[in-house]
Assembly symmetry: C2
Homo-oligomer: 172 residues x 2
């Protein structure tokens, strides 16, 4: 799929068919995620791939009742790896690891869309509860929950800010 098309036709998908998601497509998308740039090429991000129904159900609770998470055949949780970025001290933990994981998630979402799969970036969850469910050590910060499946909905594009609201010339 063309890049521009992948970017503009991707939607946030919160409803999935029961069709199974081949692991091969997940592996390909995660490999493409790993091509995103990262501070010092430290790649301070991890991904947990979940198919176990109980874990998905527990993630719904962590995500304050977002039921569609449990309906996705696969759920990926993106992690900022604060140990791998430790070289950069506070800036690494508070900025770079968040950015590195986010850039990788964006690649992942585009790669899934190009393979006919839908997902949505869930950021609203209780971090402590997600840590408990996934057995995360202190240096593994969960930053996004991504339910993945074949789309059972086809939403219209969301409103975009007009360029003059987010683009500035030469200075603020």
């Amino acid at each position: 799929m063309e890049l521009d098309k992948a970017i503009t036709e991707r939607r946030s998908i919160r409803s999935y068919t029961s069709k199974d998601v081949p692991q091969k497509l997940i592996d390909e998308a995660l490999e493409l995620a790993s091509w995103a740039p990262s501070a010092g090429n430290l790649q301070s991000r991890d991904f947990i791939v979940i198919r176990n129904q109980q874990t998905k159900d527990d993630l719904v609770v962590a995500a304050l009742g977002q039921e569609f998470i449990a309906q996705a055949p696969v759920v990926i949780v993106a992690i900022a790896n604060l140990e791998r970025v430790a070289h950069y001290a506070d800036r690494g933990k508070e900025l770079y690891a968040i950015q590195d994981s986010a850039a990788a998630v964006q690649n992942l979402m585009l790669a899934l869309h190009a393979r006919g799969l839908g997902t949505v970036w869930v950021g609203a969850f209780d971090e402590k509860e997600a840590r408990r469910v996934l057995g995360l050590p202190a240096h593994a910060k969960p930053v996004a929950i991504l339910p993945i499946g074949y789309p059972a909905e086809h939403p219209e594009p969301r409103m975009h800010l007009p360029p003059e609201e987010y683009i500035h010339l030469e200075e603020w």
Copy 2:
């Protein structure tokens, strides 16, 4: 350009030819950046497009001497807009706005690459100095400096972590 190719053939480019960069390509890439998902669709990110040489020179100082910034025909500074994300309080400012801007930067970098342009994600800079140079208010947090030009170098791909180091099955 195909998505997978854009993702895997993009490189961090720190050397640029003197060839001018058409504003049309910058505008297209920024429009594609705006398609990245964001928390509550608040699009808590801004971009400053810089062609003024003095500003670029000042950004080199803010970026601790990374001279290649001043050699790029265009520099874009990505901003996390903490005012636009205020609805989400601390989680919005410390996580969502950083992620939303990072996801948009990733789209931007891929879109530039697909148009024959090179860039690099510069994260190492003095935030206070960058704020001064660009006249940023308190709610505008600079999160990345992106020098942009036609590539004068063609680097090999960087090392990637093997999948078993960053992919976990079912739990950590």
